[in-house]
Structure formats: structure tokens, C-alpha cells
């Protein structure tokens, strides 16, 4: 079999190469778009759409005009961006953990699945963002509430994917673990969860996007810091260049988050994509 000699690193290198070529094309087109925008807004000035050059100047001022002691980072970065990102990460970690554990329990038990299925379907139909007012009443307006809200929003996607991943594990695999008398804990962490990992990761990927979304939404009300809070401030003071600067920063943040998830997935699930490529 000639394919049996394909080594894992080659695939990863090829994957990264594909990724960078894709990135270059996309990036080239983005530059063209920015140039068109610049030209159009200089030709016909608009109050709402400042030229990219001005957004860039405002961004530099907003984010990188701090004291040398803070590596020139302003409070917008050290307080607002750091606040949003840390709450987002915490919420993501808590929500994913709960989702994986509950999803595994539900996926393993037919009875639990029949009991929870309609409830899960019903509850997850409520747009998570709509539950923010409820979270505020129940938990107050502090960071704990925001983290709980993000975790809640993330949890559904991880839970549903984990449940279906675990439920679809073939009986032979479980029987194999049983006949070798593998303990419950080892079976859970070294057989069931790895076997469901491709599906779990699909949930984590959506969850990571949702965590940023929920983090921003949670800061639109009662916040004292965070990117969402700064967006509202810019809106209230009609600082259009500030507003655009924050949006550009969010785009970069979201892009970095996706790339990070993709890199982790390539590493953790290398066996899965390689196994598929041989089928």
C-alpha cells in the first residue's frame, strides 16, 4: 500500500502551505477593498464612514499611545481588551467543560438521552443573547454574571455535539474496553472522549466564536469596561472613528481566535484527518 508510507508531518506542512496561500489571496483582496474605501471616502467625505487612514490613526492613538512603562499600550488594551478576552476565555473554558461532561453523560445513557432530548431542544431554541436580562436579574451586573452568561451560551453547542459524538461511538469499541476490564475512568478519558473528539471539536469551534459574541453582548449593558462597553461609549459620543477602530480590533481578535482553534484542532485531531484522507 503506497499510502501507508505517508508521514504525518508532510500532511501538516501541506496543510499550512494551503492555509498560507489561501491567506495571501484573501489578504490581497482585502487590501484592494481598503484602497477602494480610502479613495471613495476621500472623494466623497462621509460622517459615518471615515477613511481607513483615519481609522488607522485613531487606532494607533486609542491603543498604542500609552506610557513606555506599559509597552505603549493604552488602558483600552490593558483594561478593556484584556477584560473582554479574559472573561471570554473563562466563560469558554467553563462552558466547554460543563458541555463535554454533561454531553458525555447524556450520550452514554439512553434513558438520560430520552429524558433530556426534548428539553435540550426546547431550551437551546432560546437565543442565548436574549437571556442576558435574566442573567443580570439573577446574578447582578458584575464580571461573574458575564462569565456565567458566556459559559451558558457556549455550553449548548459543546453539549449537543458531544452528546451526538458519544452516542454514535460503535458498540465494538466499548465492548473492547469492557472485555479488557479497562476501568471506568480510563474508559471515559482514554476511549470515549477521544473517540468523540472530532464531534466535540466541531462544538468547540462554534463555541469559541459564540464566546466572543457573548462576551461583547454581555458588555453592552451595565458594564464599566470591555470592548462592548467602549463600543457603546463611542456610539453615545458619536465618535465614528473610535467605533470603527474597535470593530477592526474585533475582526483581528476573531481571526486570531479562529486561527488558534484551527491550529489546536490540527494537532489534536491529526489522526482523524489523516485516517480520513486514506479512506
Amino acid at each position: 500500500m503506497s499510502t501507508s508510507t505517508v508521514a504525518a508531518p508532510n500532511m501538516v506542512v501541506r496543510g499550512l502551505k494551503d492555509l498560507s496561500i489561501r491567506f495571501l489571496y484573501g489578504f490581497g483582496f482585502l487590501i484592494v477593498l481598503i484602497l477602494v474605501w480610502e479613495w471613495a471616502t476621500v472623494a466623497v467625505p462621509s460622517l459615518f464612514f471615515p477613511p481607513p487612514s483615519r481609522i488607522l490613526r485613531t487606532s494607533m492613538e486609542l491603543f498604542f499611545s500609552g506610557s513606555p512603562a506599559h509597552l505603549f499600550l493604552t488602558e483600552a488594551i490593558t483594561v478593556d481588551v484584556a477584560g473582554t478576552v479574559s472573561r471570554m476565555l473563562l466563560g469558554f473554558i467553563i462552558g466547554s467543560t460543563v458541555g463535554i461532561l454533561a454531553g458525555t453523560a447524556i450520550g452514554r445513557s439512553m434513558i438520560l438521552r430520552e429524558l433530556t432530548d426534548p428539553n435540550v431542544e426546547f431550551l437551546r431554541s432560546i437565543p442565548a443573547t436574549a437571556t442576558l436580562p435574566l442573567f443580570i436579574i439573577l446574578l447582578g451586573g458584575d464580571d461573574g454574571m458575564r462569565i456565567a452568561f458566556i459559559a451558558y451560551a457556549v455550553m449548548w453547542f459543546v453539549l449537543i455535539n458531544t452528546t451526538s459524538g458519544v452516542a454514535s461511538i460503535h458498540r465494538t469499541l466499548i465492548d473492547t474496553a469492557h472485555t479488557f476490564r479497562i476501568g471506568r475512568i480510563k474508559t471515559l478519558f482514554r476511549v470515549i472522549i477521544p473517540a468523540a473528539m472530532p464531534r466535540i471539536f466541531a462544538g468547540l469551534r462554534i463555541g469559541s466564536t459564540v464566546s466572543l459574541l457573548a462576551a461583547i453582548v454581555s458588555e453592552l449593558m451595565l458594564a464599566t469596561n470591555g470592548i462592548g462597553h467602549r463600543l457603546i461609549l463611542a456610539q453615545n459620543m458619536f465618535k465614528m472613528a473610535d467605533l470603527w477602530s474597535w470593530l477592526v480590533l474585533l475582526a483581528i481578535l476573531g481571526f486570531l481566535l479562529n486561527t488558534l482553534m484551527e491550529v489546536i484542532e490540527r494537532k489534536v485531531l491529526a489522526w482523524d484527518s489523516l485516517a480520513r484522507s486514506q479512506e
Binding site: 501507508s4 460503535h170 465494538t172 465492548d175 472485555t179 479488557f180 476511549v191 477521544p194 473517540a195 473528539m197
Partner: protein, 273 residues
């Protein structure tokens, strides 16, 4: 553990007494096995053959402790089987679903071995020995899915060997590989049986395979499965794919087993309910 104490031949290892199994109840009840009794002694290679859908898989799941029979009992090494017993390993037909695709070959073989089996060095020695016994030296660091079907099943066999079971159950292990690979794997079973002194229960629907491998062939009837005949196979060892199969005794035995299966067995009127 009793696993490492040598046993003399002809000691009773597996005893199946009046086992019966019915799935479900009421009108939808399906009776898979009816009053089945047999026993296996140490060092024997016994094959079980029967028409497809004859409850062979149900029987194996009961023997492996994965399923509790509705009637009767199973004892392994004198102890009644209530859960999955110690000292038993199973090789499944569906090797690609039995091996862990995220672990390399060596890690798959090491996977069932715990600290109870021995030190890390001891476990690695067992794994290397087992992989050598199935002829997979040099493939330790490949993933299972990089290997052909026959090689994957050899990994599964090595994994069972390294576990050092007293009884090895094989559930139609070669049903999904091509004929050439199949005869090679049959001879592998005979070789490891001689090398490891393993007691093996081999379930198959292939009559030639059942006769070629075994000391005894247990022929099952159509469901509800019961024992039709315990056929003693008096063929000389070592066996050979060509000369053994030319032996008039082999030809006679496979014909005999085939007739028993075609007849579906002399089903007593009492169980035709």
C-alpha cells in the same frame, strides 16, 4: 492473579451449563439460545459453527460477561461469570472499530496492560513479543489505519496475546478479510496457539475454517440455538492449508458438519414453540 500459574492439560477452563437467552418479552420476545451446554479444557482449540443468525454472537457476548443469560450459567476457571471475567480476551470481527485509531500500533497493544501486568519494561517486552509473534516487527509506530485489514486484525490479536489471557475468544475474526489473507491468519492462530499454549474458542460461519483449525467443532442449530453435535476432529498436527485439506478425513468431516448445518440440526419437537 492465577493468570501466570501454569495449568496442566485437560483441566476444565470454561463450563457452559444449560444456557438460554431470550431478547425482550411478551409477543416481541426473540429466543436466541435454548439450553446450550458444553465445556472446554485447557489447551483446546474449539470452534463454534452454525447458520448465520444462529445466536453465535449472543453466545460469545454471554461468555465474555457482556450479557447476562436469561437461563443457565457460565463458569470460567471454576468461577461463575457475573461480569467480564479476569483472564479472558476477545478478538472482534470488526478490527477497525476495535482498535483505537488515535493510538499507534504499539500503544494499542499496550493499552489494556495496566500496572498490575508488570513494570513498564515488562509491559513493553510483552508487547514486543506479541507483535513479533504475529509478524508485525517494524510496524510499531504506524497508525492502525495505515495498515491493511489483515495486518490490523493481527494488531488486535497481538493486543489479546500481550494481555496473556487464559481463554481467547475470537468472534468471526477473519470474516472481513480476503481469502489469501485469511488462510495466512488461520495458520497464525495455529502457530500462536502452539507458541503460547493458548486455549481458544473460535466462532465462525465458515465450515472449512472451523474444521481446519479445531480439535472440536461445536455445531449449533438454527435459532433458538442449541448444540447439534460436538464433532471431534482427529486430524494430525501440524496442519497444513494444502495437505490437511486433501486428507480424506478432512473431506469427510467438512461434509458431515455441512450436512448438520443444512439440516439445521435434529431440533427436538419440545422447543418448537
Amino acid at each position: 492473579m492465577t493468570i501466570n500459574t501454569p495449568l496442566t492439560d485437560n483441566e476444565l477452563i470454561l463450563d457452559v451449563a444449560n444456557v438460554g437467552h431470550t431478547y425482550g418479552n411478551g409477543e416481541t420476545a426473540y429466543r436466541a439460545i435454548h439450553d446450550l451446554s458444553f465445556s472446554i479444557s485447557t489447551g483446546e482449540l474449539v470452534s463454534i459453527v452454525g447458520p448465520s443468525g444462529a445466536g453465535k454472537t449472543t453466545l460469545l457476548r454471554i461468555l465474555a460477561g457482556l450479557l447476562t443469560p436469561s437461563q443457565g450459567s457460565v463458569s470460567l476457571l471454576g468461577k461463575k461469570v457475573t461480569g467480564v471475567p479476569e483472564g479472558m480476551a476477545m478478538v472482534f470481527q470488526d478490527y477497525s472499530r476495535s482498535l483505537l485509531p488515535w493510538l499507534r500500533v504499539e500503544k494499542n497493544v499496550l493499552f489494556p496492560l495496566s500496572t498490575e501486568t508488570g513494570s513498564k519494561e515488562e509491559r513493553q517486552r510483552l508487547s514486543r513479543e506479541a507483535l513479533h509473534a504475529v509478524g508485525l516487527d517494524g510496524h510499531e509506530h504506524k497508525y492502525p489505519w495505515q495498515l491493511s485489514g489483515g495486518m490490523q486484525q493481527r494488531v488486535a490479536i497481538a493486543r489479546a496475546l500481550a494481555y496473556r489471557p487464559r481463554l481467547l475468544l475470537m468472534d468471526e475474526p477473519f470474516a472481513s478479510v480476503d481469502a489469501q489473507t485469511r488462510s495466512g491468519l488461520e495458520d497464525l492462530v495455529l502457530r500462536i496457539r502452539a507458541e503460547y499454549g493458548m486455549t481458544i474458542l473460535f466462532v465462525t460461519h465458515d465450515i472449512d475454517e472451523s474444521v481446519y483449525l479445531a480439535d472440536r467443532v461445536l455445531v449449533l442449530s438454527k435459532p433458538p440455538a442449541t448444540l447439534v453435535e460436538d464433532v471431534h476432529i482427529a486430524l494430525p498436527s501440524p496442519r497444513d492449508q494444502i495437505s490437511t485439506k486433501e486428507d480424506p478425513e478432512f473431506v469427510h468431516l467438512r461434509g458431515h458438519v455441512a450436512r448438520l448445518i443444512r439440516a439445521g440440526g435434529p431440533v427436538p419437537a419440545a422447543i418448537k414453540d
